[in-house]
Amino acid sequence: MERSGRDYALWTIAIALVVILALIPVLWLISISLKPPEALTDQKFIPSDISFDNYKSLFEGGIDDSPFIKPLINSIGIALITTAISIVLASFCAYAIARLEFPGKRVILAGALAIAMFPPISTVGPLFDMWRTLGLYDTWLGLIIPYLTFSLPLAIYVLVAFFREIPWELEQAAQVDGATPFQAFTKVIVPLAAPGVFTAAILVFIFCWNDFLFAISLTSSDASRTVPAALAFFTGESSFTAPTGSIAAAAVVVTVPIIVFVLVFQRRIVAGLTAGAVKG
């Protein structure tokens, strides 16, 4: 089939449109974050003057007085710990589901899917009540536990899809060649499973990083408030200045590294996102 110049023009427009639409909010946040306060209301997409004051104010006062450093540490720590726990528990479970035959595995998969689908608001009330009694309110653990509701099913689903693709015969082949069962597992299976595990870990981390409802409901201070919740409660330098600039700067700081990360690992993420979506 011949490709005409018109085809190229149409595709170029379509592709350019997608790229521009995807980038606009990010560029816009960067733009606001760089505008000095007096230019904030100039309604221009591209700032005419550039100032880094918004970024400086985020980190001013060090760990104790900065409105941003502690939430950032909380976000990273809570997301990393949740990811580690979910990946370990889900790996065991997904290994059994992908490789072993046992009654109840369909029930586990269906149950995981159902849990992933249900609304987080349904557990917020009971958790709020229990956490206040148990002393878990406003703690890291108090967020890590509810995050397991979405991170475990997600990790199990992605890992099962990946583990089903692993040629498990290789493990036996290695043993025939004289490897011990332990060697066969660590030298053959682990390297084959690692990309899937890594993909699942990225997706789970992004989910934890994104949570807002649990974060605003179950925390009350910088002790455990994560970045999305902290952003919602940001205040300006004084009560008369709107915190728009600081919010934009904080948003850029938490967004750009994730975007870079997502782009570097895009193939894996696409594979993980669509894993198991279509059989065949």
Binding site: V18, Q43, C93, L100, S122, I206, F212, I216, A251, T274
Partner: protein, 311 residues
């Protein structure tokens, strides 16, 4: 992980009499699954059951001395209030419009990614940007963009400089829906793309030879063959959209009748500390989600086991 796990090629049909090998395989499988299954039950089934218990009681943390079993009075209070039905309308309105737009846009983007002569990588890369952004951050970005004070949107041609987007109910919905669509269309597009690539390209060649137009090829081949993928994508996105919370909380906090049911639940539980009433709202939301899933699976025949969570 246990080294040297037993069966290599697992038997697909259970033997009538379980041999000692299949029995030990089952035992191992259950042991491996137990921690994850117990954890999932503890963090979900228990709180849900507790929510049901709370919803049958008069629990208001501002008045800790009162209380006790009240039967279904919390439910009747919720179901007879105008606020609940307004919020149901808002949630369903936002859900239906945003999922419909996402389906059309997602399909278009999936086709671009599938068929583009060049630039597939660029499209896939940019499509992942919204996915990686925190919903709250995206909501702020769009709020600042549409705000009459700081935003650039009112400077665009065809849009009045005076337009106060967050000053009215349906103009707020427009911005909320656009932020939701921007954030979640990539997921829809990727799920649809996964379905699109499974279609045999020879079918299109054959149809072309028979003289089918591009539109006929789309409606007679692509759509019917993609029905399972479309249904699964719609189910996941619909359930996800029904939970809409972050974007509304950031943009309007539910002012001017823009509340969703999740915001209502949050307000009752966390802002007003009325655990009884709030739990009734939570349980009702849970039932709504269940109903939507039921309609998709039974009504439209969505094959859920082929799907996956996340989005």
């Amino acid at each position: 992980m246990t080294a040297g796990a037993p069966a290599n090629s697992a038997p697909t049909e259970a033997a009538p009499k379980a041999s000692s090998r299949t029995r030990s395989e089952r035992k191992l499988a259950w042991m491996l699954c137990a921690p994850a299954v117990v954890a999932m039950l503890l963090v979900t089934a228990y709180p849900i059951a507790y929510a049901v218990v709370l919803s049958l009681q008069d629990v208001d943390l501002r008045f800790p001395d009162e209380g006790g079993f009240t039967g279904l009075s919390n439910y009747s209070a919720v179901l007879t209030s105008d606020l609940w039905w307004t919020d149901i309308f808002n949630t369903v309105f936002i859900m239906v419009i945003s999922v419909a737009i996402e389906l059309v846009l997602g399909m278009a983007i999936a086709m671009v990614m599938h068929r583009a002569i060049f630039g597939r990588g660029v499209v896939r890369t940019s499509v992942l940007i919204p996915y990686g952004i925190i919903t709250v951050v995206a909501a702020f970005a769009w709020q600042f963009a549409f705000s009459p004070e700081t935003g650039f949107v009112n400077n665009l041609p065809l849009i009045s400089d005076e337009m106060d987007w967050f000053g009215g109910r349906f103009s707020s919905f427009a911005v909320i829906i656009m932020a939701e669509v921007w954030k979640t269309t990539p997921f829809m597009a990727l799920l649809l793309l996964a379905g699109l690539v499974t279609i045999d390209s020879q079918l299109y060649e054959a149809a072309r030879v028979d003289g089918a137009t591009a539109w006929q090829r789309f409606t007679r081949i692509t759509l019917p063959l993609m029905k399972p993928a479309i249904l699964v994508a719609l189910l996941f996105r619909t359930l996800d959209a029904f939970r809409v919370f972050d974007t509304i909380f950031i943009m309007t906090r539910g002012a001017l009748d823009t509340e969703s049911v999740s915001i209502l639940g949050y307000n009752q539980l966390i802002s007003r500390l009325n655990l009884g009433l709030g739990s009734a709202v939570s349980v009702l939301i849970f039932l709504c989600v269940f109903l939507i899933a039921f309609i998709f699976v039974r009504g439209f025949g969505a094959k859920v086991e082929e799907g996956r969570p996340g989005g």
